[in-house]
């Protein structure tokens, strides 16, 4: 199929290392001893647990519900018992633990009752959208944006083109490639379903030109007027804005979304997941994950969400020698995993075991401009670096810091090994924190001002009443006396409570300096 393709600025031709993992068919990964399901596996508001510790759950059962529009529910990935809801390690640059529901599988993998609508092909947009939301589907390409929001925006706006993104551009990752080869019919059916739901005029399924088998598999099952496209394998060809430009020649304006120019994009795995929920009633409980790098037998696996990363490495054969780095995601944008209990979540596409990514020592910027040549967003990384480093965040924002897609091309080519993307992450997070602080200061100022105004009004009211003799001075005094007595009695009670508590703890030490005795006479000012 020949069609006009546009070439975005910059990008890199990287060694793919795809053949390592894409030759073998995928296999289901073993059910682990424990599943750790984070409440936040998506962009937006974290979901809220609906199960209690000790409760038995079935595969596909709702265990945490969505909290708001930009949020999705979480389902149990297998049958078993909820043994804890607490903070556990997750893949996040901060290494901060996050709230997870921990399930101990019973090994039977029994499904909850799956409801399939009678006429799946005739469902209206609202029904499809609700099913996508209730199945907890998010963008499986890596961003993790709730899919129902995107579909809903598509329903409410005119959609010119729906793009199903199979351009898996980051080196080593082949989970979409294998998924397409093994489930091309589901991808195409999902694409057609989403296309019908958002009433797209065109629907394009795009893969990279080095994914020949995947392309052939799609070609075989193509239906309706869905188009196929091969895009050049230049990293980051699969980036949302890059792929849109490659296929349509349209650029998404700064700070806008693809829907604003009539385009909706979903990942191939998302399309397949949408198909599975509508036709089989299956919520999102597992996904394809590439386990690759220096493991003994790199391959793709169908992994239950919540499976610890270490289990997958073991199943693919842990490499000999000293422990290697484990990265969740690809070599360009992945997050190093410090703890092997870190679970696979909805957005996990790859587990890369390697130690080949170390860079040399960092040196000063020599202003060679290589980073400018490769930036796929036409930014000036070396300028952004200077301003981020000097903490001149206003200028960094003027240079469109927030249009940076964190692809890492600039850092990859930097001859001085400057961790440019880390500087951009730092600047973005400082700006966000500053805005947050300004927001809460503004709220505090507002609260303080309204309180001051209210007190002034109360005082005026009081003065007026006193003048009119509504409240006699003696009555006010009497009130005050009663109040004093009441507070004194309450203090005595609390003292007694504290004393008994201390006795129970069995610590005779008397911390009088912080005890209640410090303020024995309460002032009676009001």
């Amino acid at each position: 199929m020949s069609q006009t393709l546009w070439q975005f600025h910059g990008g890199l031709k990287l060694p793919g290392h795809k053949a390592l993992s894409n030759r073998e068919p995928s296999i289901p990964a073993a059910i682990p001893e424990r599943l750790f399901l984070p409440l936040q596996q998506h962009i937006g508001i974290a979901s809220r647990p609906t199960v209690k510790i000790g409760e038995k759950v079935l595969k596909g059962q709702l265990i945490a519900s969505a909290e708001g529009y930009v949020s999705v529910p979480v389902h149990a990935s297998t049958s078993g018992t909820v043994i804890d809801i607490g903070d556990y390690p997750v893949a996040h640059p901060s290494d901060v633990d996050a709230r997870c529901i921990v399930i101990e599988p019973d090994g039977d993998d029994v499904w909850v009752e799956r409801r399939v609508p009678a006429q799946c092909d005739l469902l209206g947009p609202k029904a499809v959208n609700d099913m996508i939301r209730d199945a907890g589907i998010v963008g499986l390409g890596g961003a993790g944006f709730p899919s129902h929001v995107k579909v809903n925006e598509g329903v409410e706006n005119v959609v010119d083109t729906l793009i199903i993104n199979g351009a898996e551009c980051e080196p080593y990752i082949t989970c979409d490639d294998r998924l397409i080869r093994e489930r091309a019919d589901e991808v195409i059916a999902g694409a057609s379903l989403i296309s019908r739901t958002v009433q797209a005029k065109r629907c394009i399924v795009a893969v990279e030109d080095d994914m020949r088998d995947a392309y052939a598999a799609l070609e075989k099952v193509l239906i309706g007027d869905i188009e196929l496209a091969k895009v050049p394998a230049i990293y980051p060809a699969g980036g949302e804005k890059q792929l849109i430009f490659t296929l349509t020649g349209k650029e998404v304006p700064c700070g806008r979304l693809p829907i604003h120019i009539g385009i909706v994009m979903h990942n191939v795995a998302t399309a397949a997941a949408v198909y599975r929920v509508v036709h089989y009633g299956e919520p999102l409980v597992s996904r394809y994950v590439t386990v690759t790098g220096s493991v003994v037998s790199p391959r793709n696996m169908q992994v239950l969400l919540g499976t610890p990363v270490g289990d997958l490495v073991d199943q693919c054969g842990r490499p000999d020698g000293p422990p290697k780095k484990v990265i969740m995601g690809g070599p360009m944008m992945g997050i190093p995993v410090q703890d092997e209990r870190v679970p696979v979540i909805k957005t996990t596409n790859c587990i890369l075991v390697t130690d080949a990514l170390e860079r040399g020592p960092q040196m000063p910027c020599i202003r060679c401009g290589d980073c400018v040549d490769v930036c796929p967003v036409n930014l000036l990384p070396q300028q952004l670096y200077w301003y981020a480093r000097a903490q001149d965040f206003d200028t960094a924002q003027d240079l469109h810091l927030f249009d940076c897609i964190d692809c890492g091309c600039c850092a990859q080519v930097c001859p001085s090994n400057i961790p440019l993307v880390q500087y951009f992450f730092f600047a973005k997070s400082e700006i966000a924190a500053e805005e947050e602080a300004r927001g809460s200061a503004d709220r505090a100022r507002g609260a303080y001002e309204s309180r001051t105004a209210r007190l002034a009004k109360d005082e005026a009211e009081r003065a007026r009443h006193l003048q009119q003799g509504d409240i006699g001075e003696s009555r006010a005094k009497n009130d005050r006396g009663q109040k004093k007595a009441y507070i004194q009695a309450a203090i005595e009670r609390t003292k007694a409570k504290r004393a008994t508590a201390r006795e129970r703890e069995g610590s005779p030490k008397d911390n009088a300096t912080v005890g209640p005795d410090r303020k024995s006479t309460p002032e009676s000012n009001e």
Binding site: H92, V96, F426, S440, Y448, S450, R451, A490, G515, P522
Partner: protein, 185 residues
């Protein structure tokens, strides 16, 4: 004659543009912030009173009048002092140690088992961040609490603690990368 007509032309041009500019100034008037507003915008709005004024705005007014120095705000610390110095064209100076020290962000926490519902902390809170009613248990709306500590002292049963805000995923910040070493000349 030429001189007169030249004067007339130039004069009427001047008049016309003056009228135009006058109109534009009135029509497109930008909201002007007073000095007090500008100073107030730089203060952290904790309303803690450690500066010896009853709130951030009164302190801003005092600075604007010239009654107060710019180094009296412990929650703002060096950052606020620097910003004030820049705004007012003065030299930055260290925080007045008599006012207190800069600390990590804290919020008040009421031990609800001990609270007797006396209402005193609610009266003390400058930003209405404590919820409750007389003889009912009180609680702090921690997202609104500025950490001013004004509620701690009035509590007759000493059931209010100041707690450092936890580092969670939501308020975690990327560390600044280590800069490259400077090369000697």
């Amino acid at each position: 004659m030429t001189v007169i007509s030249a004067l007339l032309v130039v004069g009427s041009l001047a008049l016309a543009s003056a009228l135009l500019m006058g109109y534009a100034a009135a029509r497109f008037q930008r909201e002007r912030l007073s000095l007090v507003d500008k100073i107030d915008a730089l203060l952290p709005q904790t309303q803690c009173g450690q500066c010896s004024y009853p709130g951030c705005r009164p302190y801003a007014e005092a600075i604007a009048r010239g009654d107060a120095d710019i180094n009296q705000c412990p929650p703002g610390g060096a950052l606020t002092i620097g910003a004030l110095a820049e705004l007012l064209g003065r030299d930055a100076k260290p925080l007045d140690p008599g006012r207190g020290t800069s600390k990590l962000k804290q919020v008040a926490f009421i031990d609800e088992a001990l609270c007797i519902g006396c209402f005193k902390c609610i009266l003390a809170c400058p930003v209405d961040a404590i919820l409750g009613a007389p003889k009912q248990m009180h609680t702090v709306v921690s997202s609104e609490c500025t950490g001013c500590e004004l509620c701690v002292e009035p509590c007759p049963v000493d059931c209010i603690d100041m707690r450092v805000v936890d580092q969670g995923m939501s308020n975690w910040r990327w560390p600044r990368p280590q800069d490259a070493p400077r090369m000697g000349l």
